[in-house]
Symmetry: C2
Subunit: 244 residues, 2 copies
């Protein structure tokens, strides 16, 4: 087992500690709240392509930590600070070209995201082991963000007790199928006019989930237009399931 | 103008006053919170067929009043305590028979709900006039409940500033069309497996609304299965739009 190796620490105004860490070769960030008791943990996975330092993600993590959660994120292979292979670069270039040309992207997408999800799962499970070994983190554990990875983790990792998913339009076929095995409580967030995530597929995915408690929140607007109040709603969802 | 004529008063544990009133021949109930300042008002319209004394509606009204809102409801013609004509009884019997036989109900539904909505609008506007004349009610005004009536009111009554709609599967054609003229902030609540409200129609209706701020909340389960936390969510929606 790898342990989190902290490389920097910043104390924020509201008592939150923001620490960069590495776990083997994987870079991550951990936000912990000012709290006497070990905090519940939220794994905040960002979608392929975004770095973990993306300001919207950082703002979201800080606000969630301010509510009493430890929040952790790591970069996926080829994302953020992690090196990309020539093959990574090629498939990304293919995807951009196909999207610009208005061609179908399903096949390229599948060949890119399918392996990315498969590769990310053991990394997130290793991160979970390492984070739960820290005295300031107690559990229970929730998940937030990248839908495809969240489905895979929810099916393979019993320590995750509730999940918030965002933008479920493009999800690899394997995860669309195993969505019916996801039985933990879910909150799915959908931007009604998300350019990159076909609405009907997201609605079909919501329908597929096997969870008895599943809630869909949809708002007008594009991918980055999620209203601020949805962050509060998500935190209340976690409060219901992760706080005693 | 008619004035509210109070016929009974009950003081509840949490300082809320629950009063029955009549407005001409229309029976209504008004819940007002313990408050020094005039309260904002929510018109809570229940769907055709339910009496205003229905326990789920009353519970909802009391909790909303406990949050600082005046809440008012009236019975629609032929509903609750109000007399039904022979024609009313006939169309309801036709509807029940068609539903049990699994026949299409659109035409019967249209002939029943269309006129009911048209008739209810002037009654709710009269109620609004009378309620806003009370010193304990100040405004602004929100709407909650029956989708078809809410669309018609949102289009014709500029004093309504935010609306929460429930179960938009069966809505008369006229209101499905004028939905694009509804521009106030909306929260639409959808039960994913609502027996009596086709899901796709509700989603289409959400898509049609002309509002720039519109949010859809969908939960697993049938018509009466709305989770308790949705009431809190609705109240936070009203707080954002009706409280300074």
């Amino acid at each position: 087992m790898h342990f989190t190796h902290f490389t920097s620490e910043q104390r924020l105004d509201d008592g939150i500690v923001e620490r960069e860490f590495t776990l083997g070769e994987i870079p991550g960030t951990l936000w912990t709240p000012e709290s006497a008791a070990p905090a519940p943990l939220i794994l905040m996975a960002h979608n392929n392509g975004l770095p973990k330092a993306e300001p919207r993600l950082v703002a979201r993590a800080r606000l969630t930590a301010a509510r009493g959660y430890a929040v952790a994120t790591i970069d996926a292979a080829g994302c953020g600070e992690r090196p990309r292979s020539a093959a990574d670069e090629q498939v990304r270039a293919d995807l951009r070209r196909a999207m610009q040309a208005g061609e179908p992207v399903d096949e390229i997408f599948e060949s890119m995201i399918g392996p990315l999800v498969e590769g990310a799962v053991p990394e997130w499970r290793a991160a979970l082991d390492a984070l739960l070994a820290l005295p300031e983190i107690g559990g229970p554990v929730g998940y937030s963000g990248w839908t495809a990875l969240g489905i895979r983790l929810a099916v393979t990792e019993p320590r995750i007790e509730a999940a918030g998913f965002f933008a479920g339009g493009y999800v690899p076929l394997a995860q669309r199928e195993e969505a019916r095995q996801v039985t933990i409580p879910l909150l799915m967030l959908l931007q009604w006019d998300d350019e990159g995530n076909p609405r009907q597929r997201a609605l079909d995915l919501f329908d597929t989930f096997g969870a008895k408690e599943k809630t869909l929140h949809a708002n007008l607007g594009g991918h980055t237009g999620t209203p601020r109040f949805e962050l509060d709603d998500a935190n209340r969802f976690y409060d219901r399931h992760l706080k005693p």
